[in-house]
């Protein structure tokens, strides 16, 4: 009896603390984002509300959103740039997934000479900092006339793909090779077996790679800016947003409400992606836990 009671008290304590921690962290997670929302609906282009009462504004202004969505600059506009960003990020996601899974599959199933050395080599090379690759990449791509979306996609994919390839490999390791053998006996080629079986069973890794690839390309400013600056109709949403919010030219007055509004517009599809795929993402790493192996 006492044992059961002790158990019950313990359980209530444990759950109680858990809920408290979760609620505190949830508030901490939301608070800055609440700020972003409030700034986007405000009239004053400030980042710091100088009074606590500003946390609960009396009036919601849509000026920022209106200006963002209707202004036209030399043939470019925020909706156009947003469309560009979605296309760019989507393509990057697709290509990253393909690259990561093909490589992961190869690393897992196929017998490749010097596999371990190659894998280590590829992995180590990505340790080189991103900021240091920007200028050499620009020079290289300028030479090959790749200062456009194709060049950008090529520049974005390896970052995610290499990392995702390793996770894919571990995931595919846990899918018995017999599945494909059976499929191939049934008449499918290796590639079809790959598509039908692997892609479906390694879905969590696919989801993770797609999201990481998407968000990396979607949110990047530096590389996109240096590649796409001369072509305003091809700008991405990030470049356009920075420009319209006056954050590029130091002599312009920064309009943080515009910036916040743009971030909200850009953030909504991204957050939706994350939340929708949460089930899959939380299974993507399950093969890293070395339980049996």
């Amino acid at each position: 009896m006492i044992q059961v009671k002790k158990h019950k008290i313990f359980k209530i304590l444990r759950l109680g603390i858990s809920y408290i921690v979760l609620i505190i962290m949830a508030i901490a997670s939301i608070f800055p984002l609440y700020y972003v929302f409030m700034t986007s609906f405000s009239n004053a282009p400030n980042l710091i509300s100088l009074a606590i009462s500003d946390l609960f504004p009396k009036h919601l202004y849509f000026t920022a959103y209106k200006e963002l969505l209707t202004t036209n600059l030399y043939g470019g506009s925020f909706p156009l740039w947003l469309r560009n960003s979605l296309i760019l990020a989507g393509s990057t996601a697709v290509i990253s997934v393909l690259l990561a899974l093909i490589t992961g599959y190869a690393l897992s199933r196929l017998d490749i000479p010097a596999k371990k050395t190659l894998a280590t080599f590829i992995y180590i090379v990505t340790f080189f900092p991103y900021t240091a690759t920007a200028v050499p990449l620009y020079l290289l791509f300028a030479k090959f006339h790749l200062l456009n979306y194709i060049g950008l996609i090529l520049a974005y994919t390896p970052g995610t793909s290499i990392f995702a390839a390793f996770i894919a490999k571990l995931s595919i390791d846990s899918i018995p090779a017999s599945y494909e053998e059976i499929a191939m006996i049934d008449g499918l080629s290796r590639f079809q077996a790959f598509l039908r079986i692997i892609m479906r069973l390694a879905l969590p890794v696919v989801a993770l790679t797609a999201i990481l690839g998407f968000s990396g390309a979607y949110l990047d400013f530096a590389l996109a800016y240096s590649f796409l600056l001369p072509n305003i109709r091809a700008w991405t949403a990030t470049i356009g947003l920075y420009y319209m919010a006056g954050l590029i030219n130091p002599a312009s007055a920064p309009a943080y409400n515009l910036f916040a509004a743009g971030a909200v517009i850009m953030g909504i599809p991204l957050m939706a992606l994350f939340i929708v795929s949460q089930k899959m993402m939380t299974r993507a790493y399950s093969n890293l836990a070395g339980v049996k192996q």
Partner: protein, 521 residues
């Protein structure tokens, strides 16, 4: 036994394959590097014909009119050596670095330009930045724009590096008469002009007339007024983020205490930051911040502006580029005046009188043809002429650099023609500062001032070092970076003894992988 031999065979095979792979990697990478290296020298198609053009244009101007006219399309074309418009249209690429309010003026100017010069197509790229390396990176790849707008100091560095044209080789010397002397001076390096200015910029003192009864003339008055404001209204007297500073605004106070950034020693230009002037200027602001508590050490100039707009501070130091914001927020309460005289020395606090202007990239950087260069010259002469510059003044309140426009602006002010009425007085206060300023150094050494100043000023205002240490530190850092970048000659090479601590640091790092750590986690 078969398995064993097979394994050994496979090991031998995989060994050679590794070697082959490594060699292929190195070859491909080396080839790639070589290809990119050799693409750095796009053959410039002109070099000898330039001098011919300049001589003919100088003779042509002396024969036609003695007064240069950059508002007339015909005379503009003559200036660059063209008698009539060419049959095929020419395209020039322009990087627009105007702010949003200036852009409104620029769009109109551009429309006018395209009307008067239908054979020149202007491809404008908005969103470019002043003084950043995007231009340099593009230049390295031969992708720089033909026309670029930059500040006079970073333009000077580009000129010294050979990335922008020496306009003195293309335009007659009388071109300087078209511009305000301080402005065109900013764009002159070693007697050569490398850009044409379209505005003059510097900081002034903005104050809120609701709190401040009269503009302080001296620093003693400044302190007095600030203390009054603090006591009576409980808002900050001054908001000046001296620790966020990179030395652009602080240079005014440094000059006010008698300091100078550069001096010449044995014919070499050397920094002169380590002086009592720097110590006194630093201590002055330390005093106002930490002893008198009348200055708010803002983390950025953006925060200063926000406080000013929200009536939370009475005085800030900013430039006319933010004027529109302050006008909107404060209306008739906005006041502008020159920086005060430093009571201790009797010298005025002299801000940098800088200028932003237009440059033309060298053909090596942009791949431009001679005809494109001519079109570019016409373009920059046009956007810095009387009408264009006056438009900038009318729309964006930029202080004109074109002499005619500047005089017209002064006349407008004297006749009180600006709307709303209180703007006249404000602009008068702003223009008054122009008389008390120092030239914005445009020598290549200037680029190394900013970070050296910032590093030690921020430490000083964080109360970690004394003013003396700060002045010494920033001078040392400045000198070191000049030496590192080859702008100052060193004395002797260092002895290798300094390497010993690093060697000792490396030993455990190198030894660690060799020592195998056995056992579990």
């Amino acid at each position: 036994m078969n398995v064993l031999s097979k394994n050994r065979k496979l090991k031998g095979v995989s060994g050679t394959i590794i070697a082959i792979i490594v060699v292929i990697i190195i070859i491909v990478a080396a080839v790639g590097v070589y290809l990119v290296m050799t693409s750095h020298h796009p053959t410039p198609t002109v070099s000898t014909t330039n001098s011919l053009i300049s001589t003919t244009s100088s003779t042509s101007t002396t024969t036609t009119t003695s007064i240069l006219n950059t508002s007339n399309p015909q005379s503009l074309m003559q200036l660059v050596g063209l008698t009539s418009a060419p049959s095929t249209p020419v395209t020039i690429t322009v990087w627009d670095t105007y702010s949003s309010s200036e852009n409104q003026s620029f769009i109109q100017t551009l429309a006018q330009f395209e009307q008067e010069f239908p054979w020149i197509h202007v491809k404008v790229t908005p969103g470019a930045q002043v003084g950043t390396s995007q231009f340099e990176t593009a230049a390295k790849a031969g992708q720089a724009p033909i026309v670029y707008r930059d500040s006079s100091d970073s333009g000077g560095a580009l000129f010294a590096a050979g990335l922008v044209l020496n306009l003195s080789q293309y335009l007659p010397p009388s071109i300087t008469s078209l511009y305000v002397p301080t402005a065109i001076n900013d764009w002159t390096l070693n007697g050569s002009i490398y850009g044409l200015p379209d505005d003059v910029n510097y900081i002034v003192m903005f104050y809120n007339k609701h709190f401040v009864p009269y503009a302080p003339n001296t620093t003693d008055q400044l302190i007095q007024i600030a203390e009054q404001v603090n006591k009576t209204y409980h808002v900050w007297g001054i908001a000046y983020g001296a620790s966020d500073e990179y030395g652009y605004r602080f240079a005014a106070w440094f000059a006010g205490y008698g300091g100078q950034i550069f001096t010449t020693q044995n014919g070499q230009i050397v920094p002169d930051l380590n002086s009592s002037a720097m110590v006194n200027a630093l201590n002055f602001w330390y005093n106002l911040t930490y002893n008198l508590h009348i200055n708010y050490l803002a983390p950025s100039s953006g925060v200063e502006g926000q406080l000013f707009i929200a009536n939370q501070t009475a005085i800030i130091f900013d430039g006319p580029w933010d004027l529109n914001e302050y006008l909107q927020a404060l209306g008739p309460n906005l006041g502008a005046a020159p920086l005060p005289v430093v009571s201790q020395t009797g010298l005025r606090a002299e801000p940098f009188i800088g200028s932003t202007g237009w440059l033309i990239a060298t053909p090596q950087a942009s791949g431009a043809s001679p005809m494109q260069i001519k079109a570019a010259l016409i373009f920059i002469l046009y956007v810095t002429n009387y009408q264009s510059d006056l438009r900038l003044w009318d729309v964006a309140h930029d202080i004109p650099a074109n002499m005619q426009a500047y005089n017209a602006a002064l006349t407008e002010l004297k006749e009180g023609k600006l709307q709303p009425a209180y703007l006249n007085q404000i602009m008068e206060g702003i223009l008054e500062q122009a008389q008390y300023g120092q030239k914005f150094p445009n020598i290549p050494q200037m680029a190394y001032y900013w970070d050296s100043f910032h590093e030690y000023a921020s430490e000083f205002f964080a109360q970690k070092i004394s003013a003396n240490q700060a002045a010494q530190g920033m001078e040392q850092a400045f000198v070191q970076s000049l030496i590192q970048n080859g702008l100052m000659s060193t004395i002797l090479p260092p002895p290798p003894i300094f390497l010993i601590p690093y060697i000792m640091l490396l030993v455990p790092v190198l030894v660690a992988p060799i020592v195998k750590i056995k056992g579990k986690w």
